[in-house]
Each structure stands twice: as structure tokens, then as C-alpha cells.
């Protein structure tokens, strides 16, 4: 399927950039969500859920999301926004906002753990997408 991976996780970028379309976001988790939102507002469709069940937003600094392009309309307008994607990304951003602001994680081992888990969750989505 023609999709791309939106991520701020460098391990995810390394693993998939040769074989998949990767758009790297040089920023925080919220930047990934906002980038995804703007893409969705312009017609992109979410393929994976923007929240990960157990790793709470504001805890992990990483996020990887699968999206695909929408079909542009004839008159030059972007693809119509996909309602389900709009709803999910909106809910994800409000869920993110309600969690307490923690100090930034700097411990390299911890960052590695977060990257590994993010990558694993991304892999499980990619496996489904590549079927």
C-alpha cells in the first residue's frame, strides 16, 4: 500500500528509510501529532492509531504514525478530510494536553528504551500495512 511513516524516532527512520517512505519530524511527540493533524486536515488518512495504549502521552518523547495520502479533488482542492482521522487525531491531541508536563527525558538508556518500544509498536503496524 502507498503509505508513509511519520516519525521523530531516529531508530525508526534508520530501520525503514531504505524500504519505506519515511517523513522524519525533527521535534517532540506533540510536533509529530500536529504535523499529522495538518496533513490530515489536508486530506491524509490515518492508518495507525495516534495513541499507544500503555505508554502514556507526555511520557515517551517518541511517536511514529502511518498515514496515506488522500486523493486530491479535481478543482485543485486538497482531498476532503477523513472524518475518522480528524476525530482520532483531535482526541489524541486533547489526551496529550491533559497529562502533566514532565521534565524532558535525557537519560540515554531511557531514551533508547522508549525508541525501542516505539519502533516495536511501529513494526507491528507496518506488518499489518504490508500484508
Amino acid at each position: 500500500m502507498n503509505y508513509y511513516i511519520l516519525t521523530n524516532n531516529s531508530q525508526a527512520k534508520e530501520e525503514f528509510e531504505q524500504t519505506h517512505n519515511v517523513r522524519f519530524v525533527d521535534g517532540k511527540l506533540i510536533d509529530v501529532l500536529i504535523t499529522a493533524r495538518d496533513l490530515i486536515n489536508n486530506g491524509a488518512v490515518l492508518l495507525s492509531h495516534p495513541l499507544y495504549g500503555s505508554v502514556k502521552p507526555n511520557e515517551t518523547p517518541y511517536r511514529s504514525i502511518l498515514l496515506r495520502e488522500g486523493k486530491p479533488q479535481a478543482d485543485g482542492l486538497p482531498a476532503p478530510a477523513d472524518p475518522e482521522s480528524v476525530r482520532l487525531i483531535g482526541n489524541a491531541i486533547s489526551a496529550f494536553e491533559k497529562f502533566i508536563d514532565k521534565k524532558e527525558v535525557t537519560d540515554p538508556r531511557l531514551l533508547d528504551d522508549f525508541q525501542v518500544v516505539d519502533l516495536s509498536l511501529l513494526r507491528s503496524a507496518v506488518e499489518s500495512a504490508d500484508l
Partner: protein
């Protein structure tokens, strides 16, 4: 919000890009808009064209306000 305006006794037309959300929030008269960052415009067009497009949408919204509805209705073209 749309429901509260309606509850106050005012007929409301909701011009909204994502109509399923409009349905969920309980709007009765719904007019689909262009795109989320510019519901009543299209920056790809020149100013004049864009205003014509906007006028068409607003006229449709006024028509919706002049139409009796029974429950929720999306005013497509």
C-alpha cells in the same frame, strides 16, 4: 454549542468541513465546507473566484435556513 444555540430558539446552519462530526454534535441544518484550514475559501483560486465560491456556500447556508427540516439534514449541492 450548535445545540445550545438551537435550544435558545434560533435556527442554526452549521457550515462545517467534517460533516459526520457536525452530525455527532447535533447540528440540524448542515452545509459541507471546503477544507479544515479554510472552510469558506480556497487559496488555490484567485481572489475573485474564491469570493464567488464563498458566496455560493453562504447562499446555500441561507437556503438551508429557509428550509423546514425534520431532524438532521446535510445540504449537499
Amino acid at each position: 454549542m450548535v445545540k445550545e444555540l438551537e435550544r435558545a430558539g434560533l435556527p442554526v446552519v452549521h457550515v462545517c468541513t467534517v460533516t459526520p462530526i457536525s452530525m455527532t454534535v447535533g447540528a440540524n441544518r448542515i452545509v459541507p465546507a471546503i477544507a479544515i484550514p479554510h472552510p469558506l475559501g480556497n487559496p488555490a483560486l484567485d481572489k475573485e473566484e474564491e469570493k464567488k465560491l464563498r458566496r455560493k456556500l453562504v447562499e446555500k447556508a441561507l437556503r438551508a435556513l429557509q428550509t423546514e427540516v425534520d431532524g438532521q439534514k446535510v445540504f449537499e449541492d
